[in-house]
């Protein structure tokens, strides 16, 4: 125990790109991924903007190398997880115990929705193939089989903090010497189920979202997947290239306030951020950039901002919500944003918080508005908070 866990590979797909390189380009161009709904069959088309991955189901499955009727959730997952594994390029990976810890919130719901249309008319109808992989765990299993991972696999689902918890759990599997290599992160596809669910909560913005802005009106849903390859010190020594960074801190705390709303003072967020810093004795002043949870809902941003004020006041590091580019990718967001956090260290990037105009009344700070790179970014905090009060913060540090 106490050993260092390194990040050796990255993979990501979202509305702003199908791989890491495309994401970096989109960030530099400050180009958001939101737009009208084009793939999802819903009455909200042309009314609610979403951040869709720019490939239809068949294109996505073909890119992943999966059957055409595969759930988008699994296709997104495989594309990003494979990129991460290839990026890590671990020599003699077969000599190591390798695991896959993935997260998602609705599994194969996109296919189950098709099944249910026929099923609710007549319970003997509906193509069983469409519901066979409904479970969250099925997504993980499909991808693990494609990647040839057998030593350990599991799935975490804690709403919007799911994949941050997957990365957290993966690191502990390595520290407890159960595994040497773990691909960890998460995936979620846009579905009618989640779009309508968030719509009933009246927290969707019908314009492009404005995280941390005084006049923010809600979130935009997105989809995608983000994974990283975590390796032990032993594996890190075999790499031909230096790892990106290390996972230096993590904490999972619960807000215990309400099933969906955050407490006004952001208790859970505060405890998660504070705990992640304390894990390796870091001070708030050590943090060079915060990748905010920053959904753009009045409630989240107020609670998260209040918690940041309590922990960081009076010196605030640069911070931004990359959900202003990708939308809120739910169970994938922690993984996707962890990838961005690692890239921030690698390239010295501070991401802009798009469309920010007005500082929130209750906060003495505001997010970054412009993209910049080549800066000195050594410690990055990534926040992921979700329904059920599940709050997780990760801290990545340069080597």
């Amino acid at each position: 125990m106490g050993s260092i866990v390194y990040i050796a590979g990255l993979g990501v797909i979202s509305a702003i790109g199908n791989n890491v390189a495309e994401h970096l380009a989109s960030f530099e161009r400050e180009k958001a991924g939101m737009g009208d709904i084009s793939h999802l069959d819903t009455i909200h088309r042309n009314k609610l903007p979403v951040a869709e991955v720019k490939l239809n189901n068949e294109e996505l499955a073909a890119t992943a190398g999966l059957p055409a009727d595969m759930s988008r959730t699994a296709s997104l997952s495989l594309i990003a997880a494979r990129e991460a594994l290839n990026d890590a390029a671990i020599p003699n990976i077969n000599d190591f115990r390798t695991g896959f810890v993935s997260a998602n919130t609705v599994g194969g719901m996109d296919r189950s929705e098709d099944f249910f249309i026929d099923f609710i008319q007549d319970n003997s109808k509906g193509k069983l193939r469409n519901v066979f992989d409904h479970e969250c765990g099925s997504m993980t299993e499909i991808v693990a089989d494609q990647l040839g991972i057998k030593d350990f696999l599991t799935t975490i689902s804690t709403a919007c903090s799911s994949s941050a918890n997957a990365i957290f759990y993966a690191a502990r599997l390595i520290k407890n010497e159960m595994l040497d290599v773990v691909i960890a992160g998460g995936t979620d596809a846009l579905t009618k189920f989640t779009l309508n669910g968030f719509n009933t909560l009246m927290i969707l913005d019908d314009e492009f979202c404005k995280p941390f802005d005084e006049h923010r009106e809600g979130l935009n849903l997105g989809e995608g997947a983000g994974y990283m390859v975590l390796v032990s010190e032993k594996v890190a020594k075999t790499l031909t290239r230096q790892p990106y960074c290390k996972l230096n801190g993590y904490n999972n705390s619960n807000d215990a306030y309400h099933q969906t709303a955050s407490s006004p003072d952001g208790t859970g967020s505060y405890l998660a951020m504070k705990g992640a810093l304390e894990k390796n004795g870091l001070q708030p002043s050590d943090i060079d950039y915060i990748n905010l949870h920053g959904t753009g809902t009045p409630n989240n941003d107020s609670a998260e901002g209040t918690a940041i004020k309590r922990l960081f006041d009076p010196d605030y590091p640069p911070m931004s919500s990359t959900k202003s580019f990708t939308g809120h990718t739910l169970g994938a967001s922690g993984g996707i944003e962890a990838v961005f956090s690692v890239l921030a260290i690698k390239h010295g990037i501070i991401y802009p918080n798009l469309r920010f105009e007005t500082r929130m009344n209750e906060l003495p700070f505001e997010p970054e508005k412009k993209f910049s790179k080549g800066r000195n970014v050594n410690h990055v905090m990534s926040n992921s908070f979700g329904f059920g009060g599940n709050c997780t913060s990760l801290v990545f540090s340069g080597i």
Partner: protein, 354 residues
């Protein structure tokens, strides 16, 4: 470091909750589905909140609260749950309304409570517990993943008195779909004849079992959870045997040291062939028990098995209802649980007397 089970609680299709009788009067079911016997929740959960709670949330909350009470613990150091299907009732409600009402005028409650972490979250909310909170949703090893998380937290000295549970509910809809997928028998049977009916399919089940884990020794602990291991898609029977042997060897044991083996025999001939073969090979001569005729088959049924094993050790007796073979030993000291789900996910748990 050792992991002890301080207390347990279980809601199942048997009278396992709020009842000191240890499986003395087995409930018989004729059909293909076993439903959990629900206690009077009003004594355990605020009736105002109860109204909105689905079946799985009620089962989970009540079991968690009872487990804490039995363990004389007000505030757990962490809350971890495993569920393969999550909150099916609310999921199906919201999905059906979305389709039938063509996405219009939908109430939010079912969606809010449909997320897989709802049970763990509701427990935290009721207790105002700000500690570590996690939910695993990986098919036949959802509960085992949660247990592993708890064991690691104890080893890391991050938490003590960890509340960990496995919950799954069966709804009419999931029963219909899983029946169509061939998981359950095509004709009604008695659960008491489950293993004698040599046909495909099992009986559907459901339930919730929670445990309070600690690394502190105490004479009041139920048992020690000595070790746990999961296996994904083993190559063949020989591979399974090899892995069981090495699991025991890693704990300085051989099969002859095991006083009782509890297997996950389900009555499905396509799945039970593994157990039948082990009965005459590796487990030849071992005292055998099984449990799925009591709780039915579901992905987190291993939580029921762990409840059974820890209470066998505490009560120093093997209930007649679970005996498959032999069991002349009145007070087993070492119990091995071997379960597989759909032949894909296999798990081993070693439970020892303290």
């Amino acid at each position: 470091m050792k992991t002890y089970i301080r207390s347990s609680a279980c809601i199942s299709p048997q009278n396992t909750f709020g009842n000191d009788n240890f499986l003395t009067e087995v409930v018989e079911y004729n059909g293909t589905r076993l439903k959990a016997i629900e206690p009077d929740y009003k004594e355990l959960v605020d009736p105002k909140q109860l109204r909105r709670m689905s079946h799985i949330i009620k089962m989970g909350m009540a079991t968690a609260m009872e487990c804490l009470k039995k363990g004389n613990t007000e505030m757990p150091g962490a809350i971890i749950t495993g569920t393969a299907y999550g909150c099916l009732e609310d999921t199906v409600t919201f999905l059906t309304r979305t389709i039938e009402q063509q996405e219009e005028l939908l109430p939010p409650t079912a969606f809010i409570q449909s997320t897989h972490n709802t049970v763990a979250a509701q427990i935290a909310l009721m207790l105002k517990c700000h500690q570590y909170n996690n939910t695993f949703v990986h098919k036949g090893i959802s509960f085992e993943s949660a247990l592993l998380d708890a064991i690691m937290l104890l080893k890391e000295q991050e938490a003590d008195n960890i509340l960990v549970g496995g919950t799954d509910e069966m709804t009419d809809t999931s029963f219909t779909i899983l029946s169509r997928l061939g998981l359950y028998k095509r004709w009604p049977v008695s659960n008491l004849d489950l293993y004698a009916t040599k046909t495909r399919g099992s009986m559907g089940g459901e339930g919730a079992a929670f445990f309070l884990l600690t690394d502190k020794a105490s004479k009041n602990n139920l048992a020690e959870l000595t070790a746990i291991r999961t296996i994904y898609k083993p190559e063949n029977i020989e591979d399974i045997e090899k892995r069981v042997v090495s699991f025991l060897a890693d704990n300085d044991l051989m099969i002859k040291d095991i006083d009782l083996v509890i297997t996950g025999k389900s009555g499905d001939t396509a799945h039970d062939d593994i157990y039948e073969q082990l009965y005459v090979s590796l487990f030849n001569g071992a005292n055998l028990a099984n449990y799925k005729h009591l709780c039915g088959e579901y992905p987190t049924s291993s939580a029921f098995a762990l409840w059974l094993a820890s209470n066998i050790i505490k009560n120093e007796l093997v209930p007649e209802a679970v005996i498959e073979r032999n069991t002349q030993k009145a007070a087993p000291k070492k119990i091995l649980i071997y379960n597989h789900y759909q032949k894909i996910y296999h798990s081993l748990m070693l439970v020892s007397a303290i």
